[in-house]
């Protein structure tokens, strides 16, 4: 988080560069079941983030030696498209992407009932098409929907959102410029019904008190995102139900 010149990220009315309040989320759009071949898929727009998540599986483990006798193996790849950032990003996986693939897997595995699928794999692919700070959180939110869309039994949906600190104030959901010029970033993945955290990372500088505030902000936002995730899932399956009903009516009339 290099600070070149001190830019004011909060104006005198207490609003941020993009006009948001300190505890306001960026606009979110969630869509479920948008890929044809994947067993489950989802698309998220979170601010200017545009991310696709796909789930293949449960399917036979390949190579066979990675299989576990008592549960499914979960595999995860988080990847950024070369055109997703300001400067072109090499398509080869960076150390950051390798770390995030692990963090995202570990944030979703606690929700997946993998014990129902011994010797199988559940493969999870996250492609960042456009990055705008908070890609890991948006990726988790989408991937959790893709898992549900694939019909994989889950204990709960996982919602994720970051909190942070800019201009000395604890705020929710940093945008690109806030992330680059800000003082701290705290990505959190949360399961609201079980009240548990499955991803927690932090970089920057926070006092213990600021950390508690930021954690509270992030978990509250995850509750809101969780409601949106449920709505997105219901939306898809309402559409599916309506279509099948229409088809049935058409058949009867024919």
């Amino acid at each position: 988080m290099g600070k070149q010149e001190q830019v004011h990220l909060i104006d005198k009315n207490g609003l941020r560069v993009d006009g948001r309040r300190l505890d306001e989320l960026r606009p979110l759009k969630l869509e479920v079941g948008i890929l044809d071949k994947a067993n489950g898929s989802a698309y998220i727009e979170h601010g200017r983030n545009k991310i696709l998540a796909a789930v293949y599986g449960p399917r036979e483990a390949h190579p066979k030696h990675i299989a576990l006798a008592d549960r499914a193996v979960v595999r995860c790849r988080y990847h950024m498209a070369p055109f997703s950032t300001d400067e072109r990003k090499s398509p080869a996986p960076s150390r950051r992407e390798l770390e995030l693939s692990k963090m995202i897997r570990e944030s979703l595995e606690p929700a997946i009932m993998s014990e129902y699928f011994p010797r199988a794999t559940i493969d999870l692919f996250i492609e960042v098409l456009q990055a705008d700070a908070g890609t890991r959180c948006a990726g988790i939110t989408a991937a959790s929907l893709a898992l549900a869309d694939a019909g994989i039994p889950m204990r709960e949906l996982v919602a994720a959102c970051a909190a942070g600190k800019i201009d000395g104030k604890v705020v929710l959901d940093l945008s690109d410029i806030e992330d680059k010029q800000g003082d701290a970033d705290l990505p959190v993945a949360f399961m609201p019904k079980s009240n548990v955290i499955s991803l927690l990372q932090m970089d920057g500088s926070l006092t213990e008190e600021e950390f508690k505030q930021a954690l509270e902000l992030a978990t509250n936002a995850c509750r809101k995102i969780y409601d949106m995730q449920r709505e997105a899932l219901q939306q898809k399956y309402h559409v599916v139900r309506d279509e099948t009903e229409k088809e049935a009516v058409a058949e009867v009339q024919a």
Partner: protein
């Protein structure tokens, strides 16, 4: 791709003996739940490195060497030196380590240590600038795991901190657009002393500084890195378990108080 780890069958058998003790508030090596293992630090044992430190944390042994060399600055920070942290899980340290390109665990370890040093602004990187946009000093922190008996993050973090405060580099100046190294040596310009403290959750109990047997049966871990004024500068959760917000807050405040003592222990070794 990041893949669910294979669990060793032995670990599954040992799980019961570890957790039976934890429930009673005891541990395999007779520590209390929030006790740290004995820590020994040896500074400057590699003469060819600019700085080095070896840490024993119980039976875990980590060596860190620091090399400081001229290089080209990044475009977005033309007037700052560069910090690079790398970790090698060398095969001599554990039957589970294999030679080859770094795996996700060593990448994660290196990135967690990197964040602690970078975000606490431990090194004053501006003072490592030779000619803005052209030449700066690069600080290579190379972490070598020599014996793996659990809690590599903390051991590596303290070894890295020890190696940095132990580092000496040539004083330098620019003459006729050339970098000139003087004979006189100076310490690396340090501003903070980040210390990572890792707690794990086993059967619902929070335990500090896990040994290897404990690490194999944890639900999850949370590392909290703090600087000298008790500010948190980096955090990382790992493992397949979950923590509730109260457990997180408890781990954070434990880490803050424990890090003061350990920071003092590392700093007391400066000669």
């Amino acid at each position: 791709m990041s893949t669910t780890h294979q669990f060793s069958p032995v670990a599954k058998l040992e799980q019961k003996s570890v957790s039976d003790l934890i429930v009673k508030g005891k541990r395999l090596d007779e520590r209390n739940l929030l006790d740290y293992r004995p820590l020994t630090i040896m500074m400057g044992i590699i003469e060819k490195a600019n700085g080095s430190a070896q840490v024993y944390l119980g039976k875990t042994r980590v060596l860190v060497g620091v090399k400081i060399q001229p290089g080209t600055p990044f475009e977005d920070t033309p007037d700052e030196g560069i910090l690079t942290v790398n970790a090698e899980f060398v095969p001599i340290a554990s039957p589970t380590f294999e030679a080859g390109p770094p795996g996700e665990d060593s990448i994660e370890l290196a990135r967690v240590i990197d964040r602690g040093i970078r975000e606490s602004k431990a090194i004053d990187l501006k003072k490592l600038c030779v000619q803005p946009g052209k030449k700066v000093f690069v600080v290579f922190v190379d972490i070598y795991i020599l014996d793996h008996d659990g809690n590599l993050i903390d051991a590596a973090g303290m070894a890295a901190l020890g190696a940095l405060i132990n580092s000496k580099m040539h004083e330098f100046e620019v003459k006729d657009n050339e970098l000139v190294l003087k004979d006189k040596m100076m310490p690396l310009p340090m501003q903070d002393y980040p210390v990572p403290i890792t707690s794990v959750k086993i059967d619902g109990s929070i335990v500090l500084d896990p040994c290897l047997e404990e690490e194999q049966v944890i639900s999850c871990r949370l590392t909290v890195t703090t600087g000298k004024d008790d500010r948190i500068c980096a955090m990382q959760k790992g493992g397949l378990g979950v923590l509730n917000p109260d457990e997180v807050k408890q781990i954070v405040s434990t880490a803050i108080s424990k890090s003061r003592d350990l920071r003092q222990r590392v700093l007391s070794k400066v000669n």
